[in-house]
């Protein structure tokens, strides 16, 4: 934010100044330089550099904000450029940089005070800074671009301060910013102590009666971040079990929490504090493919990105549109999704644990009342395509507990979430230790070579898997069974994968060979 050409001869009425700011692209931010050119002529204010309507309106906000803050709005010919000029700019977050560049160009700011400083914020007509979306993404971008200081609205300061190594200047208004740059005022130091959100009150597994199979599958899934499908009649408690998953997941590490917070900030979901829980997203089954994967003219994160490092729960998964489910296939494998819209392509992180639930048949009545024909069932099961099912590691049954158990007056004796979570955390520790330095964080993230290195089998288990592989297992399925077996052994705190682990993994894996195929 330095006048790039010093006004050595004031009579030459051309002044050029620039300010750095950051624009959100997906969940990351990239640098945008706002250049302002002031020259003599009929008073006019032109904005170039592919601005959208909200950016173009910044001219009016900046004019009013300057005047209402007791500053001068130069009645000259003003041209502002948002560089790089080839990228479309959206949103109101360029206001502050535009105002600052304008002040510098009209020599209302000391030029040397804004070296290594980026500014970011929206202006009100009165000159007050309004908070925006994506403060953490902006701060991380500024740090990566080599800036030492970032000016942000007060409300965004806490979130921005999560990016360590960057001085955050929390400024309430434009006039305060001018005071700051003139050395007449100092902002209060931003608390950079990483105040975490309190952990949300999780539902407890002890409340679930029966469901031994689903509980076990849930524990394995949580321990290795594996994908899970629950099949059961309505009212069996599939949703109830799934909602208890966050309670047994290990808390996110600092790096993971930062990723989660950055995404939530960019989507406008966070409260500025560091996320203490993994996200749990349960989009409705009418959600479109774009809603799940992200999209829009200015690509915004979809549900799978909002669930990054957490759980994406698809209730009534067979009711989702085919396009939406198929769109999940690639990100489920890669942990990342690339959305291309118009001229640009934005990458979103999408490392999720998929938990899905569906009924055994379209009528969804108990087995003895079901009158669905074979064709109805076939059609229903075909809504889940083979490639999607192939990416699901565990398929479990949810069954309504016997009525006797429901009406039992005593509290149920099920294990509480805390105990299960302790085992899950221990299993994750083992994985973390083993996978240190490989880029993978848990068993589900192991790629082919890692799987072969860390999931070694004994001869008996290999034979078992080989006989299954000749039948319903695909190559991908084979690796997934190995990873699942690895997790089951980790849950038992064993380094060696026993035959029983592989057997259990195989039993939880959906056979993709439909029994009545010709």
């Amino acid at each position: 934010m330095v006048p790039t050409r010093a006004p050595s001869r004031p009579s030459v009425a051309v002044v050029l100044a620039s300010a750095a700011t950051f624009a959100l692209a997906g969940v990351e931010s990239h640098e945008v330089t706002v250049e302002v050119d002031v020259r003599r002529g009929l008073p006019a204010f032109t904005l170039v550099g592919l601005p959208d309507a909200a950016v173009r309106e910044a001219r009016e906000r900046v004019r009013a904000a300057l005047l209402n803050s007791g500053l001068e709005f130069p009645l000259k010919r003003l041209t502002a450029n948002l560089a790089p000029a080839s990228v479309r700019k959206a949103g109101p977050s360029f206001d502050l940089a535009l105002a600052v560049a304008l002040l510098a160009a009209s020599e209302q700011l000391p030029p040397d005070r804004l070296r290594e400083t980026a500014v970011w914020g929206e202006l009100s007509l009165g000159g007050v800074l309004r908070p925006g979306r994506g403060a953490l993404a902006t701060a991380l971008g500024a740090r990566a671009a080599g800036y030492a200081r970032l000016v942000v609205p007060v409300e965004n300061a806490e979130e921005a301060a999560l990016a360590e190594g960057l001085e955050i200047l929390a400024v309430p208004s434009l006039s305060r910013l001018v005071d700051l740059l003139h050395g007449r005022w100092q902002p209060e130091p931003t608390p950079s102590g990483m105040r975490s959100r309190p952990r949300s009150e999780a539902l407890d597994l002890a409340d679930v009666r029966g469901q031994a199979d689903a509980k076990r599958a849930l524990e394995i899934a949580a321990a290795g971040a594996h994908n899970l499908l629950m099949i059961g009649p309505p009212g069996a408690g599939k949703t109830m079990v799934a909602r208890r998953l966050p309670g047994i997941l290990p808390p996110p590490s600092l790096a993971e929490a930062l990723e989660i917070t950055r995404i939530q900030g960019a989507a406008g979901l966070g409260d500025g504090r560091l996320a203490a829980d993994r996200p749990f997203r349960a989009p409705h089954h009418t959600t479109s493919a774009q809603g799940l994967t992200g999209g829009g003219a200015h690509p915004r994160p979809g549900e799978i990105t909002l669930a990054h490092r957490g759980v994406l729960f698809l209730d009534e998964v067979a009711e989702f549109s085919r396009a939406a489910l198929e769109a999940l296939r690639q990100p489920l494998e890669d942990g990342r999704i690339e959305v291309t819209r118009g001229q640009r392509s934005v990458g979103f992180p999408a490392r999720v644990m998929l938990v899905a639930a569906c009924n055994p048949c379209p009528c969804a009545r108990p087995a003895q009342d079901c009158r669905c024909s074979e064709i109805d069932r076939l059609r229903y099961s075909r809504r889940l395509s083979g490639p999607l099912l192939d990416r699901i590691d565990l398929v479990c049954q949810a069954t309504p507990p016997p009525v006797a158990e429901l009406v039992a007056p005593e509290p149920c004796a099920g294990e509480c979430s805390e105990a299960v979570r302790a085992r899950v955390v221990a299993a994750r520790e083992r994985q973390h230790h083993r996978l240190a330095g490989t880029g993978a964080l848990c068993n589900a993230e192991m790629d082919g070579p890692l799987t072969r290195r860390y999931a070694r089998l004994g001869a008996e288990a290999r034979g078992l898997l080989a006989s299954a592989a000749s039948g319903p297992l695909t190559g991908r399925g084979h690796d997934r069974v190995l990873r699942l077996g690895r997790t089951i052994a980790d849950l038992d705190d064993r380094e060696r994968i026993a035959t029983g682990d592989v057997e259990e993994a195989l039993a939880y894996r959906m056979s993709s060979r439909v029994a009545h195929a010709a």
């Binding site: 689903a214 024909s373 069954t399 057997e503 056979s511 029994a515 009545h516 010709a518």
Partner: protein, 393 residues
């Protein structure tokens, strides 16, 4: 097989009158649909009428047009048309026409046949019809396939109707053991109905025969299903119903079978199951109780043949007796057999889910249980199939 080569030598061409009659039935198909939609019991009677009477009773306002169709019928063109479609016609005056069908009063004048197998496959007293519901339980499915396998392994031919469910399973079982499947259709022999069974249809064309009373090209009519059932019953020496509710098309077939003096068998089912109402009813009425292909062989060829078949060497894949199972595995197997879901098995066996799952995987690997498309476990067939070889006398 049991056919006289001399009789086969006489099989040359279907006679003109019968061929005309065959195409006449096709021509009248839509009229019959209007007339018979609600009176399926009379289909056989109507089809037994002579040409003139048939036209008079069915064609109605269309009668004159149909009569002129019959008069102008170009037999040679029809023969060319059949040949072009790869369809063979078999008339009741040819020696190759199955005699067990020809003795019936309402036997079709001509059968349109498609498929690679020799026409002699339709002859003999070693043909068994296996029919059942279109929405079977996993148990019915398993039994139908097992019967198809067992019958093919014993060198018997399996007739069924290519419907989804039991019919298709019986065909598949027969194909698995390199048998000669015979599908009797309610549409032209070149029409696949239902479309779902396209793959099975193609394989039947390769290894067996597809038979129909309707000329090529005709879509199925509702009246044609009971008409088809009488052909299935008439072709076979024995009709076995695997699973059938009450009422059902399978019971129509078994009624036809007993009317023309053929043996009827039924696979027993759970008393509480809707799908067993028809079969258990048949058993109560005196049908032969069928638990495997051995029972069918015994019914058709006597106790000795059955005993010989039972003593024949088994293939290793079907060595699935409970003998030698660990106590835990046996308990799991019993629970699966009783139709319990996994949570109920856990409660009953007093085992945690992990051990139940691992145990079920072992049982699946050893072929004792199998899983359906939604991951539920079912008991795999226990009836052992003998290795390939001729059993009957």
């Amino acid at each position: 097989m049991l056919h006289d080569p001399a009789r086969r030598a006489g099989a040359s061409e279907p006679c003109d009158a019968c061929l005309r009659r065959g195409f006449l039935v096709g021509r009248l198909a839509t009229r019959m649909a209007d007339l018979l939609e609600r009176r399926s019991g009379r289909v056989a009677e109507v089809l037994a009428l002579a040409d003139a009477d048939l036209i008079a009773s069915v064609a109605g306002a269309d009668a004159n047009a149909v009569r002129s169709y019959v008069e102008d019928f170009d037999v040679d063109a029809a023969r060319d048309c059949l040949e072009a479609g790869g369809v063979r016609a078999l008339c009741r005056h040819q020696p190759a026409y199955p005699p067990q069908l020809a003795v019936l009063a309402d036997a079709p004048a001509v059968l349109f046949v498609k498929g690679a197998a020799d026409l002699s496959a339709l002859l003999g007293d070693d043909i068994v019809t296996v029919v059942g519901t279109r929405r079977p339980s996993p148990y019915g499915r398993t039994m139908a396939r097992e019967l198809g396998r067992g019958l093919a392994a014993a060198d018997l031919r399996v007739v069924s109707g290519l419907a989804i469910g039991i019919d298709a399973e019986a065909h598949r079982g027969c194909l698995e053991r390199a048998g000669t499947p015979i599908a009797v259709l309610a549409c032209g022999p070149d029409v696949v109905y239902p479309r779902t069974n396209c793959a099975v249809y193609e394989r039947i064309l390769e290894h067996g025969l597809v038979v129909s009373e309707l000329p090529p090209g005709w879509r199925p009519f509702r009246w044609a299903f009971p008409a088809r059932n009488r052909i299935m019953a008439g072709l076979a020496a024995m009709t076995v119903v695997v699973e059938a509710a009450q009422p059902s098309g399978s019971l129509i077939t078994s009624t036809f079978a007993s009317q023309c003096g053929r043996a009827v068998g039924a696979v027993p089912g759970l008393v509480t199951s809707r799908l067993a109402a028809g079969t258990n009813g048949l058993l109560a009425d005196g049908a032969r109780l069928v638990t495997g292909a051995v029972d069918i062989v015994e019914e058709l060829f006597g106790v000795d043949a059955g005993a010989r078949m039972a003593a024949a060497p088994r293939d290793s894949a079907s060595e699935r007796s409970q003998v030698g199972l660990e106590p835990v595995a046996r308990r799991l197997l019993d629970a699966v057999e009783a139709g319990h879901d996994i949570d109920a098995i856990c409660l009953e066996a007093g085992l945690p889910a992990r051990e139940v799952r691992a145990g079920l995987a072992r049982l699946e690997a050893s072929g004792h249980v199998c899983r359906d498309g939604l991951g539920s476990y079912h008991r795999a067939a226990t009836t052992s199939t003998p290795a390939l070889g001729r059993i009957q006398p």
